[in-house]
Amino acid sequence: MLCGGNNDPSDRFPEVTAEVERPAYDSLGMQTGGIRRVDPPQLEHGMWGAGPTPAPRGGEPLAPRRPDYAAIQSSREFAELRSRLRRFVFPMTFVFLSWYLTFVLLAAYAHDFMGTQVFGLITVGMLLGLAQFVTTLAITLTYNRYAKRKLDPQVNLVRTQAGVGPA
């Protein structure tokens, strides 16, 4: 367990609020001279060797105030969030990269096809290029909608269960 304590199985997500989290950083002694925003302690862990657990400095134990990442990661809600993200972005990346590469290969090797005039002097190549713009916009807006409907609520669910409040 990352937090080194608080493994009470009845309380998988220890109640952590942002308000009590901030003093935890203070106890690391990293906040100096009225500068409010500091590196979160997580970024520091490797400094103590390969071990992931930050050694508490200043005597005060960190454990009760850190979110229990291991518990969150193994929760069903988090698994659902991860799968919703990956289900969308991986296939979509494959689609747009293949479509772009098809266009590039046609432009590189099929000059005459790309130069066929469709109406007026406007060629197949121009229309396919503009189609790339259109699909890029479409994928962007589709993802934006998907994220708003399927990802953001799930993120907030996981966050609420972890006691951090919505983003």
Binding site: I35, D39, E44, G46, R86, H111, I139, T140, V158
Partner: protein, 530 residues
């Protein structure tokens, strides 16, 4: 009229200098006003994460509406036709990589630099060192391209043709840029980007609407006149004029473009200037919309310049292809429009180089100084001080490099920076974000493998030796046939990362992996700003 212009500078150099000076003073004042009082690391590197998605999105697109893409692509379309447009498609599609794979997760995981994300669950010192090396090398090449471009632009707009004069202008441009970074940090630099991007978009939209109006909103008749005024004739309507003959090289370039753009260090640090992942996503949505509008306009402007100015006149102007858009501006809007276009073009170089300097100095101060030398025990004031000193050093190097590279092939430098970013950064970031087993050995292999293979292939490519356009024309030691190494070095870095991870032993810190995964998807632990 065109012939007279071609022998001379475009428009009135004094007016151009005046508009440029006014712009520089105005933006410096803006930078000073918006950035008063900020001394923390969060403020200097990431503008306190206080920008909205829309603001950051426009600034992001500002990073790419660089002189190279504005003047360069419009010029390429005017002279070579379709192949110039082909190049611009990659600049738009590339944003999907940032939208789907990188932006939000990077925002949640890191704080100031790419090293934050890559080293999250690795051994800090070697991985941060590698991330810093990669950031500095890529920033340097990209910066060199921008500064070298400044030389050509000066020749064009201010009628300064001797090298000493151009060098002085490059130095002045560099000094103003250093001032932006020192005074404004990320906040000031971002505001300059926003102002510039809005001006540039207004400019290109106005020119486009005017052009279309002139041709009765019939794009085909613009094409018709473009074909008539271009010695290449109908060939400008289809691919092959620019990349014909080395098809594989073009495919390699296209790959580096689409995978490299969102892995450039100054783009990655942009994602940290917004408060959370939702705003990071919104930034990319804004950036995609502005880029689509911009490149549609560029298509019209490019063919329009060919139609109204004619490609021989463009090629005879002091900086060749790059002068297409300014010449067109003069033709349709007189010296006033030309002055605005040139001021925006200058501002573009300033702002892009400032962003790069900031990314490079953040990487050195945060990754190398704070986390490697001081092992994380540093006072933020000292860190910002180091960052500012680094910014000055990087800025001076950029000025010197720009003076030396003045006249070199700018497109090649940009393509090289993109190939480097796609090879070293992309594989490493994706593995770090999505592959559980990825470890220190893997991260070092993909970073150094991608960077090293890319540099080595460039060294033995026709760009450096063995062709009439090489840097060294006297000797021939080229072994690799392509100008752009992307098609080899990008897969190679993914392979290196895989092999390195497999040889590096079992996952070294499963707890940190869990923490990173949770944090990257939900932002828990990332939002110090509530």
């Amino acid at each position: 009229m065109n012939v007279v212009l071609a022998a001379d500078a475009i428009g009135d150099p004094v007016a151009n200098i005046g508009v440029f000076a006014a712009f520089a003073v105005a933006t410096l004042a803006l930078v000073y006003v918006v950035s008063r009082g900020g001394t923390s690391t969060a403020d200097y590197y990431a503008a306190d994460s206080g920008f909205t998605g829309a603001q950051n999105g426009i600034a992001l697109s500002g990073d790419f509406l660089s002189a190279a893409s504005f003047l360069g692509i419009a010029g390429a379309i005017a002279v070579h036709g379709y192949d110039g447009f082909l190049y611009s498609v990659g600049w738009v599609v590339a944003w999907l990589v940032g939208l789907l794979l990188i932006g939000e997760l990077l925002r949640n995981t890191g704080r100031f630099t790419m090293g934050d994300v890559i080293a999250y669950r690795m051994r800090q010192r070697p991985v941060r060192a590698a991330a810093a090396v990669s950031t500095l090398v890529i920033s340097f090449f990209y910066m060199l391209a921008q500064m070298a471009g400044a030389g050509g632009l000066v020749a064009l707009l201010l009628n300064i043709t001797d090298r000493t004069g151009q060098s002085i202008i490059i130095a002045i441009v560099g000094l103003i840029m250093i001032l932006y970074v020192l005074v404004g940090g990320m906040k000031g630099t971002t505001w300059v980007q926003i102002v510039k991007a809005v001006l540039l978009l207004l400019c290109v939209t106005m020119i486009t609407v005017f052009l279309l109006g002139k041709f009765d909103f019939n794009f085909s008749s613009i094409l018709q006149q473009a074909v008539a005024n271009n010695p290449l004739g109908n060939a400008i309507l289809k691919p092959g004029t620019l990349y014909g003959g080395n098809e594989l090289d073009f495919v390699s370039l296209a790959l580096a473009l689409v995978l490299g753009i969102c892995s450039l260090p100054h783009v990655l640090t942009r994602f940290y200037t917004v408060p959370n992942a939702v705003q990071a996503r919104r930034s990319v949505v804004w950036a995609v919309c502005t880029m689509v509008v911009f490149y549609l306009c560029t298509l019209v402007i490019g063919y329009g310049a060919s139609a109204l100015v004619g490609s021989p006149a463009i090629l005879n102007a002091p900086s060749g292809e790059n002068s297409a858009a300014p010449l067109l501006a003069l033709q349709i809007g007189g010296p006033v429009l030309l002055g605005i276009v040139s001021a925006v073009a200058f501002a573009t170089i300033l702002a892009v180089v400032a962003g790069l300097t900031l990314a490079a100095s953040a990487s050195f101060a945060h990754d190398v100084y704070a986390n490697i030398i001081k092992r994380g025990r540093t006072d933020p004031r000292a860190e910002v001080k180091v960052a500012r000193i680094t910014a000055v050093v990087v800025g001076v190097l950029a000025i010197l490099g720009g003076i030396l590279a003045n006249g070199q092939n700018v497109a090649f430098l940009v393509a090289l920076a993109l190939a480097l970013a796609a090879s070293a950064n992309l594989s490493t970031i994706l593995y770090a974000l999505f592959w559980k087993r990825y470890n220190t050995a893997g991260a070092l292999s993909s970073l150094y493998g991608g960077l090293g293979s890319c540099l080595l292939l460039i060294m033995f490519s026709p760009v450096v030796s063995g062709s009439p356009t090489s840097i060294f024309t006297m000797v021939d030691f080229h072994l690799f046939p392509l100008n752009n190494p992307g098609i080899v070095s990008i897969p190679f870095s993914f392979l290196c990362g895989y092999i390195g991870t497999m040889l590096g032993g079992r996952s070294e810190s499963p707890d940190a992996q869990k923490e990173m995964e949770v944090r990257s998807l939900t932002g828990i632990g990332a939002d110090l700003r509530q």
